[in-house]
Amino acid sequence: MSEEEWTAVRLSLLVAVTATAASLPPGIAIAWLLARRRFWGKGLLDTAVHLPLIMPPVVTGFLLLILFGRHGPIGAFLDQAFGIVFAFRWTGAALACAVMGFPLMVRAIRLSIEAVDTRLEAAAGTLGANPPWVFVTITLPLCLPGIIAGAILSFAKSMGEFGATITFVSNIPGETQTLPSAIYTFTQVPGGDAGALRLTAVSIAISMAALLGSELLARRIGARHVAA
């Protein structure tokens, strides 16, 4: 594989890991809100979280460009206040991937939080644990399999994200050219099939490894819960 191809693979991994890690805390928080709280605007929040799943990726990418571009309302603010720039940077690719994977992650975590018995949480409360400690010591460990599943879904989505990423941050080799963009580029040039095929093989290998890893992890946690 060429240096350029390796760059695309490394960049894709960096983008996917960053997107997954950065969306976990808000993902868990929103999943918990949707699973356990009743508040005004809950339906609205639920819909907003699911939007990237139903909208065309290109539309999501374009909206990100409008909002987080250098001159967009959020993008301009972040640039001036913190010097954070998303437009045409790998961080922008990570943002696009995080947004696209968010509904999948929240859904998996929400289902697993809903499956945690609230009576166990009440019991922990009577033993002196305040609500944050109940969450950390009871809710979180019991919904860990769902959190892992959500993270894997988000990671897999990030590895494959194309439409929103290319619309938002374009296809700059070494900066925003992820695996799918690189494969797409190869298919656009004569004789690029071999390169596209090599990257496809790498892509399949990474997906399989992620799936296997999550299976192993889930099995270990499952064993810890069931075994004597």
């Binding site: 166990l120 009440a122 019991a123 305040n130």
Partner: protein, 352 residues
């Protein structure tokens, strides 16, 4: 303990309006299912916020809606043993036991001695196991230990034996008795079993359709309980043992009782529990009859309900309950004041 409760709480059509003060020891909250027992205990524990009223435990006000006081559950230091044990499945037995102790660190007094409580409950061999590998009885004992190790000032037990079979109940009851006698933690014990209440309780609170209908010492209140396994309890002293027939003679206010030999020393006090349906009444002193125990008394009250009637007897100051058919009541022309003889078919015993 001094537990002072005066609360009102409505949920749907059900209205709970309970008010009572309890004495030290085990207070039994007794009533049929749906009478509001569990809601009342949940209010004391802080799992339900009452709409109006006060809850005071040992002088500390936990809830007072008039003054806007509401202490959240994690700062009440009230241990709760649930009917369904609620052990944390992702933690070992040891971690379950130590869960509450971790949060009560820095509180006044030692946070319970792990070894002593584990020995008291007979769970030392289980500490490295997972909750789902335990039997129902073991699980309840661990749940009791977990609540105790959080160093509670009051222990709530909501039908801790209800989900267990007879053998498992018999396995756990002695541990709860030891808890009452050794650990000295005041207990609010919810049950709909008269036998359990007779065995454990010091004070009984009877709850019916959300209201407290009677409060008082167990011997006085138990005969009022309306339950299928209802009956009465008698305090008695072991008078002597008969080796030949393997019998023990007991002396009670109501008279002498002969029962299968007890493993209790002469002079010790026991609490005999006699179920209403094990008592027959006769107008004449029965002769040549197999039952060993016949007590003389007077009818003090008759409450009829359909085909059955509960007859309350005054046997020299002690109360004895008999359950007869309405037909028998008519046939014997039973009425308050009438002298009768009670034939007791069986007696169950608990050390008190």
């Amino acid at each position: 303990m001094s537990l002072d409760i005066d609360i009102e709480h409505a949920r749907g059509a059900f209205r709970l309006a309970a008010r009572f003060t309890s004495q030290p020891g085990v207070t039994a909250l007794f009533g049929r299912s749906g009478s509001g027992k569990s809601s009342l205990v949940d209010i004391v524990a802080g799992l339900i916020r009452p709409q109006r009223g006060k809850v005071v435990v040992e002088g500390q006000t936990l809830v007072d809606t008039a003054r806007g006081v509401y202490i959240p559950r994690h700062r009440r230091r009230i241990g709760y043993v649930f009917q369904d044990s609620r052990l944390f499945p992702h933690l070992s037995v040891r971690q379950n036991l130590l869960y509450g102790r971790w949060f009560s660190r820095g509180e006044d007094g030692a946070a319970g001695d792990f070894g002593a409580i584990v020995d008291l409950l007979g769970i030392a061999a289980l500490t490295e196991r997972r909750p789902d590998s335990l039997s129902g009885g073991e699980r309840q004992r661990v749940a009791i230990g977990r609540a105790l190790l959080a160093h509670p000032r009051l222990l709530l037990m909501d039908e801790p034996l209800a989900s267990l079979d007879e053998a498992r109940r018999a396995e756990i009851l002695p541990y709860i008795e030891r808890l009452r006698d050794v650990a000295g933690v005041p207990i609010l014990y919810v049950s709909h079993s008269v036998a359990e209440v007779a065995r454990l309780a010091t004070t009984v609170v009877i709850l019916s359709e959300g209201k407290v209908t009677a409060v008082g010492p167990v011997l006085d209140i138990l005969p009022l309980a309306d339950a299928s396994d209802g009956g009465s309890a008698l305090e008695a002293v072991v008078a002597c043992h008969d080796e030949e027939f393997q019998l023990t003679t007991l002396a009670s206010a109501a008279g002498e009782l002969q029962v299968p030999k007890l493993a209790a020393v002469v002079g010790s006090t026991v609490r005999a529990y006699i179920r209403s349906r094990d008592v027959m009444l006769s107008l004449q002193p029965p002769q040549e009859i197999s039952a060993l125990n016949v007590l003389a008394g007077k009818v003090s009250m008759i409450s009829e309900g359909g085909a059955q009637a509960d007859v309350r007897l005054d046997c020299n100051g002690a109360t004895l309950m008999a359950r007869l058919t309405a037909k028998s009541v008519r046939r014997l022309a039973l009425a308050p004041g009438r002298p009768v003889f009670a034939v007791i078919k069986s007696v169950s015993f608990e050390r008190s």
